[in-house]
Symmetry: C2
Subunit: 331 residues, 2 copies
């Protein structure tokens, strides 16, 4: 087993976020459920975008946001995700490469346009996401560079990306390669609707010992455990994985292994401007701690600090040097 070249290799949606502000009445008129993510088709995207106010475009994608944060913290990262050969695809690729994340999946022929996430931010800082997957759903098993998977200490899978059949097969192939090479595999549950859709698949993977680290927030863990009791959900899920990282918004986060557990409160934030990317950046901080050999509690603290930076501005990628914020915590 050779030494891994990357701290993390991720498979996830390649999306550009289009962020606009609106009030709660707008969500109601558009039939949008606040705080949720829904998949929309091209027709719906045109209609919704037409109704939205002026936007700001910025690279997004859950796992890609995590990698951008980790790269800023000095980790070596590579991303696998499909963009089209168009302007937004070039924006996505540029923004990852410019922070040092390796990204190779440029557009090929006959792809839908690069995927985008139309995000409505309400005055309370909550984001409501409407995703047109576009090219991102067209990732195929043959687009996986298995040498790259073997080159990463950790394979990180975005639950959102499990939704389309091509990416799902690609991720299954990636898991097999990673495990055969002795690498670890992490899965983030991404959203309650993803859990409801893929519960059987994901529980089967966990029971088969294929998932080493599981990230989920309260809604996702409740859905996975099919219960209304958060403590019961954590108690039911944690034995299924070597490491469970459970985030609970302003109520903090905890990490549970077979023989240890730790818990931290949420890091303080002056003003919640936009929660887009908070979970992604929590994972960035936590996994950077893991890569550096920090203890569980420190990993959680790093996650909380990175999440707090993220929600204090509009946009899902870090806007200040995260290493200055979490550096003092590192061993």
């Amino acid at each position: 087993m050779t030494e891994p070249r990357f701290d993390i290799v991720a498979v996830g949606n390649a999306l550009v976020d289009v962020i606009a502000h609106a009030d709660d009445a707008f969500l109601k008129r558009q039939g949008l459920h606040k705080g949720a993510m829904q998949l929309i088709d091209a027709g719906h995207a045109v209609k919704l975008y037409g109704a939205m106010g002026p936007g700001v475009e910025t690279s997004g994608g859950s796992a890609a946001n995590t990698l951008a944060g980790m790269a800023m913290l000095g980790c070596k990262c590579a991303h696998i995700g499909q963009v089209a050969d168009d302007e937004l695809g070039r924006v996505f690729a540029h923004d990852l490469k410019s922070v040092g994340v390796e990204f190779q999946n440029a557009g090929r022929a006959n792809l839908d346009p690069t995927g985008r996430c139309l995000i409505v931010v309400t005055p309370d800082g909550q984001r409501t996401m409407n995703t047109l997957l576009g090219a991102s759903a067209q990732l195929r098993p043959e687009d996986i560079d298995h040498d790259l998977i073997r080159a990463g200490a950790l394979l990180y899978l975005e639950g959102y990306q499990w939704d389309a059949s091509g990416p799902r097969s690609a991720m299954r192939a990636a898991i097999d390669t990673a495990r055969a090479a002795g690498r670890k595999v992490a899965l983030t549950l991404s959203a309650e609707f993803c859990v409801n859709e893929h519960r059987a698949d994901w529980l089967a993977l966990m029971h088969a010992g294929q998932i080493d680290i599981l990230f989920g927030n309260a809604e996702e863990l409740l859905a996975l455990a099919e219960t209304d009791d958060y403590e019961a959900a954590v108690a039911k899920i944690s034995p299924l994985v070597p490491l469970l990282v459970a985030t609970h918004g302003p109520q903090g986060a905890r990490a549970i292994t077979r023989d240890a557990r730790a818990e931290v409160p949420a890091a303080p934030v002056d003003q919640v401007l936009d929660t887009t990317g908070a979970g992604d950046l929590f994972a960035a901080g936590f996994l950077t701690g893991q890569a550096r050999g920090a203890d569980l509690r420190t990993c959680l603290e790093m996650g909380a600090i990175c999440a707090a930076e993220c929600i204090s501005h509009v946009g899902p990628r870090p806007q200040v040097d995260l290493s200055k914020l979490v550096g003092p915590l590192l061993p």
Copy 2:
């Protein structure tokens, strides 16, 4: 002469801004002159974008920024500028339409990609702009809707747009139509290099009585008057136009007509984050005051408040409801 349907009809570049942060050493390495705007070609744009950090994309264009501000303040606005039929072109059109600005120049066949401005923001909030004009330079005289020009109380011309021959001819045709319809014409000098390039053209227009309102900052007015003495420049230029609006950054602004003058200090700003669009939003506030019949001093105060809002965040378009800020000043 029928009553104008629009308070303002503008001709200006249709650009999407790509904003990234960098330090002064980056400017030096890239051979960029801080605070300036330069035109770059496609090859240079690829090279510079490749070197820039992660960006945020947001609609820009000097005159378009002014209209976005005026529309937010309740003015009726229309914009003439050329985009291509591509993603960034649709972003530009969406962002204008979504604030109520009429915009019709969608892409036609055989255009270069939609223009973009690569903006590097240094820690002092200064912006250094590098513009690939793309489709924006391909506006033709036949793209001018002369009924639209006649429908505007004011024709507003962006000096930057004077640079390419097609747009220049288009703007000359627009001036003729506006004057024949008894409309007023405003010109913003845009940049020192534009003045140096087009001084003869613009002075000739002023001497011929074609320009009713002239906007310029200190560097531009010094270049136009070919002097190093700001007071001398103002004294030389102001007799050439019925209304001169001279901005001077943190030193404030003044307005001079044949028989009146007013002066205001810059509005206070907590933190200068990004000066991109400050002059454009100054014009938005000033011209809204003019459209509402405010006195010169009030117009200047409105301009100063809108400029201050603009430089307190990243991006050239307003991010808060400007009408709440300047509404109390209106007659």
